[in-house]
Subunit: 256 residues, 3 copies
């Protein structure tokens, strides 16, 4: 069995997603195809990287993840296949990989294009094709040619300075919960169990909840999400709208 996942900004109405699935089933009939998301905000690599980063570790090792966003050949560093954390990723070298992984991947293959390769639908004609080559048992190191490095886009990472952690918001989910780039490891390392104040533009929070239901309905809370990133949420309410939190807004934790 080979699992191929799809992460794109193609939306669900148009024919693009099903065209890719049809092509995969033509080339590799026993593929198990799973949608990660097709509702990535158009052209938004940060959005794509967050969703894929949260989702992919749930899949079995060896899963092939196809990334269909900003796939224009001439504005990227070419098309690549990457092996990282025992998963495979296929997409354009447009900076997505530097947002997706904490450490830059070392196992990189550049997908070689046929002469006069048609470039109007690379997610199907090139990425899905390569995914099937790999799924059929192809050797990672025999596909395409080696590539030294990938395009870097510098993600905002949470940083500590003395007794403070400064981070920013990276994702707002459909419940209007707002996730930051501050993870539990950094929080514990800097905080060492001390009391703290979480400062948002218009609000402060002085504790971290273990469950949404620890607070009354409509109250704001801070919680480490299932991936251990600090999230600002509201029980049965909309934290992002109410507190006017936006992507890239800053969040500060001051330890006492």
């Amino acid at each position: 069995m080979a699992i191929i996942t799809l992460t794109t900004d193609f939306g669900l109405k148009d024919h693009y997603v099903s065209a890719i699935k049809g092509a995969i089933l033509t080339w590799f009939p026993s593929a198990v195809i799973i949608d990660i998301s097709h509702q990535i905000e158009k052209y938004n690599l940060l959005d794509a990287s967050f969703i894929l980063k949260e989702s992919y570790p749930n899949f079995p090792k060896g899963t092939i993840h196809l990334i269909g966003i900003n796939t224009e050949f001439s504005t990227s560093g070419g098309y690549v296949m990457v092996k990282q954390n025992d998963h495979f990723f296929i997409g354009a070298d447009n900076g997505i990989f530097s947002l997706l992984f904490e450490e830059m991947p070392q196992k990189i293959r550049e997908i070689t294009l046929a002469e006069n390769e048609k470039l109007s639908f690379p997610a199907r004609d090139i990425f899905a094709k390569t995914a099937c080559d790999l799924a059929k048992g192809g050797d990672f190191n025999s596909i395409g040619k080696p590539k030294e490095s990938l395009l870097q886009r510098i993600p905002f990472r949470a940083t500590s300075m003395g007794d403070n952690i400064r981070g920013s918001f990276v994702y707002i989910d459909s419940y209007d919960n707002v996730t930051s780039n501050i993870d539990k490891r950094l929080f514990e390392q800097v905080g060492k169990g001390r009391a703290f104040i979480i400062e948002l533009a218009r609000h402060t929070i002085e504790r971290i909840s273990k469950e949404y239901s620890e607070v009354p309905e409509g109250e704001v809370l801070a919680i480490f999400n299932s991936s251990d990133y600090l999230e600002i949420a509201m029980r049965n309410g909309k934290a992002g709208s109410l507190l006017n939190l936006k992507i890239n807004d800053s969040i500060t934790i001051r330890f006492q």
Copy 2:
């Protein structure tokens, strides 16, 4: 083969749904995973119960239905697995089962949690895990421990009084057709073939159509839907908006 269906209010953009699918494929690679709906109105158990009730009987007996809505542990009566009508259902004991079934299930297992079980994503970590335990051939009666009863939320049911049936609207679909809780059995039992008037707030209907196309375009009609519930519809039009029908609004049938 084991089929696992998913009914949630997670939406399709975020990583939550695919995280569950990845986890299922990790624990039980041959699972067939089918989406029932991820666009349940947030926190709305009535909405979830209607959609699942209409959908699940179409699946083969033995199908496992995972219900991912209002899954907070401390606000529910715990996490449960229920066997009813030869189907399995896994979710939080938050009242959904009393809305889902006409008769309360007798076969109930409480899912036992590990000490310090992480409760940030129970639909994945607990429900999907239990679904896979069952799908792998686990015995229903050996999973978790027996549970006597489930939380009751009283659904509004249609009732008859003399020559009248009084019901209410329970669902508005994407065509803006509006489904009531009056079923054909009750209609025939009370009506015994007599003439009748269906009374809505702003409209009356004196017959029940067999097909949408029995009336001219833009005309309101009453029809028993594919599950034999009475539905108010408009051919190629939007009955709910035009007649200003809302969930829980009343509908009365007067027999002569």
Copy 3:
């Protein structure tokens, strides 16, 4: 393996799509079910035909395509199964097939209905059932009875007149790219390599790009899409809104 695809205007929230999938898995457990789109504009056959036409050729030969739009029995020429280009199509004879194929299919079977067949959900009870009969190895020519012809709806086709081609817009995708019914073959046949002007209501374009990124961001371009139809697009922008292009608006190419 048998692949069954679904193209409907049912949307993704309601139970309709999953009810069909459950029924298919009940009748034919090993079916591979793929969504083409469920977000077809309600009742819009042109929309359905465009999406299915772009998608279906990507699937393996022998794939069965179920079409769930405008399925009322009495307003159609009955329910049919069509074999064309080595694919199977099942739906209502409502004109969709004349929009879907350049040449009208010759291999047509009328699906015979049981007496008192319930017609409230034909996409499930009749189309999915027939798809499974076929998937199980049923012979196309033994299902239902032969049918001579299909309902015609005349699609607007691009036409040439002297040195000009006149077409119209048939689809606007989620990127707000606008596809016309002018294909590359007609363009090359009439143009014979000459210079040209593409005339839109408010804009002219004098070249056809090979890649979206050939023009600066925010500039309008013309490009043959992955199916070789002429598309008006904007790099990282919204061509349809900016140029106020609508479905059925005309587009003219004047060769010099």
